[in-house]
Amino acid sequence: MPTPELNRRTFLKGAGVAAVAATGPTIIVKTARAKSDTLKIGQWTHFVPAFDEWFDKKYCPEWGAKNGVKVVVDHISVNDLRARAAAEVGAKKGHDLFGFLDPPPAYEETVIPLNDVVTECESKYGKLVNLAQRATYNPKSKTYYACSDNWVPDPLHWRIDMWGEVGMKPDTWEHVREGSRKIKEKINAPAGFGLAQELDTNMMLRGLLWSFGAQEQDETSTKVMINSKQAVDAVKLMSAIFKESETAEVFTWDPSSNNRFFVSGKGHIIQNAISAIRTAEKQVPDLAKKMALAPPAAGPVRRMGSEHLLHCYVVWKFAENPEMAKKFLVDLVGAYNDAFVASEFYNFPSFTKSVTDLKGKLAADKVDPERYLFLADAERWSAYPGYPGHTTAAIDECFNTFVIPNLFARAAKGEQSAEDSAKQAEAEMKRIFTKWIK
């Protein structure tokens, strides 16, 4: 029997059949797929791997088994969280619970209010700490658009040996300036206060502003206040620190850079979450013995730093399992004794009684019992973006477009005077506020 001839007709017929065969099952499978008992959580890849180990392999499977759901956890790089959230909102499909590292007021319209979750947590696990309350609550709509399970303090990390060379400790910002200059002159070790368009810089510089009595906005969260003498003084101080004791690398940094800078042994001071020193304890234990932590430096007005991170979950309106998501949140807050220890003290509880005997746990650190004790008071010297107002969508855009880091960077680079840089930051913030505040 002669074999069929391959001509245009047979080719097209074959290609058409192949296309239907390839795409058909996906359509059939899609329509046949039923809603499963799954809780999908999207959150960051923790800087302390032990926490993710605990969360993914112990807590979530056990909670899932107890509640009859399969818990699926997706870890997203810290730099990609916001973009991923935007994609999920755009597609109206994604996770049930989504964890942000800074409050997301811009997303209020796409999330389920969590007032009931916060109320239940407060009744069981103590008050929500002030900085988390101000950062996740909209007083206009009286809505908690997110529920914070933890926040992260932002202490100074400093080298005892290097500061010992100049006989000083970094207590106030003037001490930091003078000591850093002397250390750089004597042993050529630079300071590490970032001036880059990234998260750590955003947080550290806000703390510096507040310690000088400056602020981005007023208490009503409607008026821009960045162009003030106090802000200009803070900018001048950081410019001096840069010129006297830093190198241009601080303009290049991403969130992991200051950790690497300090752990490499190159620098004598940074301001960061404790992940930096925890990394040093594991990778360079002999060097870590020469490191210490301290509260943020004090300015003329107060001693204040920012929370390094404020972890908060939202439940999307398009979540497939919203009630289970809320239950997970409440139970997670209740499990914070374990979460706090699993995170090696990185995750501080947002509800005051969700970790019992915080001080005792800090004092029982296996590596260095004395080192972490002072963090028991961390809430006293920590605030949040937008302080003393609320974290609004306008502040959120200012945060994510790096208005504050660039305010300082322009002056430090000598491109503008501190006064002109503050004026430019004010104009930029007013432009952003106009878009959001109606």
């Binding site: 007709r9 811009a106 796409t110 690398e249 303009f251 850079s257 994510n400 432009r431």
Partner: protein
């Protein structure tokens, strides 16, 4: 009868042509056309990242963008980044293509190496460069110190100084686009008839005479098309800048594409981000039309 009708449909160019091209048209409409018109709509609205409704605001977003010094700097940076990188890409591409036209030992391996940057995912390649130019552990700096090109106490901060940062992002972008340009120009060079070169040799034309008076004029349509593609890629690129510098230091390498991303996606102001990203559309449209006209007019018979 049915077989006859079927035979005539599948054999008709007028029917088969559009059917064959339909998938490509659908692709362009769905993945290019729809987002473009959505951006146009967003740019004249007050849409935010999570807003359920939006209102028409005319050109307010464009006016707001123009008021921002960051936007104005990003506009200047975009032109600098594009023009310098494309000039380098065309010149270096021509040099590489001329070399690849010759026969030599290891030509296939060299061609493979030249094509690698284009083949590798751009974000992966850029992350590699981020480490190559790292502030602490840069192998590039190490080699420069080891070969005494820079002093023992010199350590260039490739992303920390404004000029160096712009040079770095331009350099990585050129590295990435060079293979594409080389391949296009090589195709143009191989299409030049051998007889033309031989005639030039017989007439005693030297290398530069041949290049300037014969090769480049014959290559003009190809160079125009390569330049056009390169300009559009460069104007709209944000990957290299986002990965390497995030627009820093102090917006020193911020371009319109990256600023649109920070404003619209990370900052939540979708309308503002759309307005920034569309700002160059009229300019790019005019550039594309002019360059295609130039390419068409310089067809050589």
């Amino acid at each position: 009868m049915r077989r006859g009708r079927e035979r005539s449909l599948l054999d008709r160019e007028g029917f088969l042509g559009p059917v064959m091209i339909l998938p490509a048209v659908l692709y362009v409409v769905a993945l290019v056309g729809f987002p473009f018109f959505l951006s146009l709509y967003l740019a004249v609205s007050d849409a935010k990242i999570a807003s359920a409704t939006s209102h028409f605001v005319g050109l307010a977003n464009f006016e707001s963008a123009l008021q921002s010094p960051t936007f104005r700097r990003a506009l200047v940076n975009t032109f600098l980044f594009t023009l310098i990188s494309q000039a380098l890409v065309l010149v270096l591409g021509k040099i590489l293509a001329t070399c690849l036209l010759q026969d030599f030992y290891g030509k296939s391996a060299l061609r493979f190496l030249i094509l690698l940057p284009w083949v590798a995912p751009i974000s992966l390649g850029t992350i590699g460069w981020k480490w190559m130019l790292d502030s602490l552990y840069s192998p590039v700096n190490w080699v420069l110190q080891a070969t005494h090109i820079i002093g023992k106490n010199d350590w260039p901060m490739w992303f920390g100084e404004r000029g160096l940062a712009m040079a770095s992002v331009i350099g990585v972008h050129v590295w990435r686009l060079l293979p594409f340009s080389t391949v296009i120009i090589l195709a143009g060079l191989t299409s030049i008839p051998k007889e033309v070169r031989e005639a030039a040799d017989v007439d005693g034309a030297g290398f530069w005479s041949r290049e300037l008076h014969i090769v480049l004029p014959l290559l003009r349509p190809i160079l125009t098309v390569a330049g056009l593609f390169g300009i559009i890629f460069a104007f709209t690129d944000m990957t290299v800048i986002y990965v390497l510098t995030r627009g820093g230091p102090a917006d020193g390498t911020q371009v319109l594409a990256s600023l649109a991303f920070f404003t619209g996606i990370l900052g939540g102001d979708l309308a503002g981000g759309a307005a920034i990203s569309l700002f160059l559309f009229p300019i790019l449209l005019i550039v594309a039309i002019l360059m295609l006209r130039v390419a068409r007019r310089t067809e050589v018979t």
